[in-house]
């Protein structure tokens, strides 16, 4: 299995197992796209079915959501820098930028938790109506992904500190960077189709 080792190119692509893991993760992301597409479709079908609960237009706060969006977009950018540092062979740069990425991600999560608590105080919960169920589950699933991503990245930071850059650790970092960018893309769709449309309709 470790037969076809390459001598040059990015570390994470050098072993055949590394190449297979990366391809496997791309396929996993395809499955994730289907998962989120189903949630978006559910949201679209249930849009406007607020029953007696307040409508999204009454509750959504553009400023909070805009801050969240920028936090996550910047974290995607810093994550790109982290991988760039990895390619340069700098463990220190990689760890630094990865930590910055995680701090931004934690900021995003903090705002999301604040947002959910705020809505609960305004009287909407998961149980309020079909629309709010789909809202909380769609955004919550994204938030859960971010949470898991942060936990996962912390495990990788420990491994990087212990082992430095090897074909295995760099593969793991590259894969989590794919995951992180993917969550960013999903958020852009949530921002536009949930928040922007929800505020004007």
């Amino acid at each position: 299995m470790s037969a076809h080792e390459l001598k040059s190119g990015p570390l994470e692509y050098r072993s055949s197992q590394g190449r297979m893991n990366i391809l496997g993760f791309w396929i996993f992301l395809a499955a994730e796209i289907v998962l989120f597409s189903t949630l978006f479709a559910t949201y679209a079908v249930l849009f406007g079915r607020t029953a007696n609960a307040p409508t999204p237009g009454e509750l959504f706060e553009p400023s909070t959501v805009l801050v969240m969006t920028f936090l996550l977009l910047i974290s995607s950018f810093t994550c790109g820098i982290a991988v760039h540092e990895m390619r340069r062979g700098s463990v220190k740069g990689l760890i630094t930028w990865l930590i910055i990425t995680l701090v931004l991600g934690l900021g995003f999560l903090g705002f999301e938790i604040y947002e959910f608590i705020h809505y609960t105080h305004e009287g909407v919960t998961l149980q309020s109506s079909a629309y709010w169920s789909s809202f909380f589950i769609l955004t919550g699933t994204h938030g859960l992904h971010v949470t898991l991503g942060i936990g996962w990245a912390i495990l990788l930071l420990i491994q990087l500190a212990k082992r430095g850059l090897t074909p295995v650790t760099s593969r793991k970092v590259f894969i989590i960077s794919l995951y992180w960018h993917f969550l960013d893309v999903i958020w852009i769709f949530i921002f536009t189709s949930v928040y922007l449309i929800g505020m004007v309709v």
């Binding site: 299995m1 391809l23 496997g24 289907v34 998962l35 079915r49 109506s129 169920s133 491994q159 793991k172």
Partner: protein, 644 residues
């Protein structure tokens, strides 16, 4: 919760089942202890990452599930044989048809085929294992524990009773309170994790690990069907994941997706379910097509006719399978336009399927046909499946579907495609690859007895159901009127014929183990593809030297040139993954978490989920990179396996 709420009480049949479960469990524990086999079980099976052993475990579990689903079927047939039968009451009948459908599709058909894929595909493409052996073990254990979770429902907590489709609002918390429906949701969710992982695993394996020289269009057709199936799995299963999760959240946490209150939409469940459910039908039938293609080509002693057309028709079927889901509920009232669109897309599927039928006939044409048991299963498949397919086109016409919908005509149709397609293929494939798995063939004479009992029983059972359906008998009724009796009696007789066929098949496994001669070479049927190039039993590393593939039917070419997979001059150390107990432990913790959620004991669910996360973290820090098999050991193994 009282103990009599936890255990199902008051049914003599279920008390009987409890006693038999207790006895079988005690017997297994006794045998393992008496013969000191616990260590063997752990080292050789529970911790294995070998694709061949995982495949065997899949198939054994699937046979057990076939037994369970078959017992459900026989109970239903007894109840329906005569008007006014009192064998099962309405509630119990509802539970039995629900578990029959779910078990047969999710825990029998899919695992059986995935088991065959596991054993055969790496061998066919010249690989030493799958791309992710650890993940493969995770897949198996998630299926296994999902199946266990679903199956304990009939003695603990109560079985689901809303049909295998579990339409809301019937399956919602308001109308189906209690743990029954939760068993369905979490059993499927748990095993669904494994199925998705299997899809990813086989896609990467087939795309990346083919033997040198093997182009995509030189791949054996069963490997192609596995690849196409894996695509369908990856794009269909997340829909099921979401649908199940939403209903679970509806039931346990009070959200309003499929409810009648809070402006929920029960019909959305139906759509989501079938957006997965229809592709699922092709997940279980495309590998079956692949198996039949291999067998027909081997025993007609000809190259598969129209190989490229076969591949492309599978790809087209896979694409269309996502565009037809509405035909499962034409009568739900989407309007003429929507129904027409889905009616046409449904009928379109008959085109590539027809191409495949003609290609099988073309392969048989002027072939030197050997009527072995696997070949007979395949020959029985073709006409039986055509009957199922043609009645499927009848059902696909939206206007006429208003007549057939929810009748026994539909029941007959899908049993004709699923049994003649999938179940025949499972038997055929198992008999065909049996020598590769266990080192001896199944007895041909007993095998043919089981085949004739099963095939004739199948037609006797299901052909009358078309007519009783046209006479107006609806599906899912627990009692019949006198006018439907004659055909139902015939049907019940046929069902017992199938039961006999299965019993003879199982007896054949025992008989062949005792008395059949052991295989001397790895090439039991004068095969054409690479799995027959390996010795029997297959060494754990599969190929001592990986052959260079030069065309379709790679092993046939090798045989002509006198090549083997044991090129002594070119042996190199082989890298293999280490065994690990982590997948088994992780998924047993997941089982505990799911069980907690079934009973809505959140503390148990949360504790279990934390356990799973700890296991995943543990895996992240696990840098075990496997081991190397030394050249000497390869030489010794191959020499003794090949009798050199």
């Amino acid at each position: 919760m009282q103990l009599d709420e936890f255990f199902v009480t008051g049914e003599p049949l279920i008390y009987g089942a409890m006693v038999s479960i207790a006895l079988v469990t005690a017997a297994i524990i006794f045998i393992l202890t008496y013969f000191k086999k616990w260590g063997w079980l752990w080292r050789e099976w529970l911790t294995t990452v070998d694709h061949k052993k995982i495949g065997i475990m899949y198939i054994i579990s699937a046979l057990a599930m076939l037994f369970r689903g078959g017992m459900d079927a026989l109970m239903m047939r007894i109840q329906l044989a005569f008007p006014g039968m009192n064998f099962l009451n309405a509630q119990h009948y509802d539970e039995v048809f629900t578990t029959h459908g779910t078990v047969m599709i999710i825990f029998m058909a899919m695992p059986f085929l995935i088991g065959l894929m596991n054993i055969v595909v790496p061998l066919q493409i010249g690989a030493r294992d799958v791309a992710f052996p650890y993940l493969n073990a995770v897949s198996f254990w998630s299926f296994f524990f999902g199946a266990m979770l679903f199956n304990i429902s009939f003695v603990i907590g109560g079985s689901p009773d809303a049909g295998w489709t579990s339409y809301t609002p019937l399956a919602g918390a308001a109308m189906s309170p209690g743990p029954g429906q939760n068993f369905y949701l979490l059993g499927l969710q748990l095993s669904g994790i494994g199925t998705l992982a299997t899809g990813i695993n086989f896609m990467v394996t087939i795309l990346k690990m083919r033997a040198p020289g093997m182009k995509m269009f030189q791949m054996p057709i069963f490997s192609w069907s596995t690849l196409v199936t894996s695509f369908i799995i990856v794009f269909a299963f997340p829909i099921l994941t979401v649908a199940l999760a939403l209903m679970t959240i509806d039931r346990i946490f009070g959200s309003q997706f499929f409810t009648l209150t809070g402006e929920g939409m029960p019909m959305m469940w139906t759509n989501l379910f079938w957006m997965w459910g229809h592709p699922e039908v092709y997940i279980v039938v495309l590998p079956a097509f692949g198996i039949f293609s291999e067998i027909i080509s081997t025993f007609a002693r000809k190259q598969l006719f129209g190989y490229k057309a076969m591949v492309w028709s599978m790809i087209v079927i896979a694409g269309l399978s996502f565009l037809v889901w509405v035909h499962h509920f034409f009568t739900m009232g989407m309007g003429a336009f929507v129904n027409s669109v889905f009616s046409i897309s449904t009928m379109l599927i008959a085109v590539p399927t027809g191409v495949k039928i003609f290609n099988w006939l073309g392969t048989l044409y002027k072939g030197r046909i050997q009527l072995t048991t696997p070949m007979l299963w395949s020959l029985a498949f073709i006409p039986s499946f055509v009957i199922g397919g043609v009645t499927g086109v009848m059902l696909g016409m939206a206007a006429t579907d208003y007549q057939y919908h929810n009748s026994y005509f539909l029941v007959a149709h899908f049993h004709y495609v699923l049994i003649a397609g999938t179940v025949f293929a499972c038997f055929a494939g198992l008999v065909y690859w049996y020598p590769k798995m266990f080192g001896h063939k199944l007895n041909e004479r007993i095998g043919k007895w089981s085949l004739w009992f099963f095939v004739i029983g199948f037609h006797v059972c299901f052909f009358p159901q078309y007519f009783v359906g046209l006479d107006g008998m609806p599906r899912r009724v627990f009692t019949i009127i006198p006018e439907w009796m004659p055909l139902n009696v015939i049907s019940t007789v046929g069902a017992f014929g199938m039961g006999m066929g299965f019993a003879i098949f199982v007896y054949n496994i025992y008989y062949s183990l005792r008395y059949n001669e052991r295989e001397k070479s790895g090439d039991s049927w004068d095969g054409r593809t690479l799995e027959w190039a390996t010795p029997t039993p297959v060494p754990f590393y599969n190929f001592a030297t990986v052959p260079h593939v030069e065309g379709l039917d790679a092993y046939l070419i090798m045989k002509e040139k006198g090549q083997t997979t044991f090129d002594e001059a070119n042996l190199k150390p082989i890298h293999m993954p280490s065994n690990t107990g982590q997948p088994f432990i992780m998924m047993s913790i997941m089982f505990v978490a799911s069980f907690g959620l079934v009973f809505e004991w959140l503390w148990m669910a949360i504790a279990g989920l934390i356990g799973v996360i700890v296991m995943m973290a543990f895996r992240s820090f696990d840098y075990n990179d496997g081991f190397y098999v030394k050249v000497d050991e390869i030489k010794r193994t191959e020499r003794s396996a090949r009798g050199l």
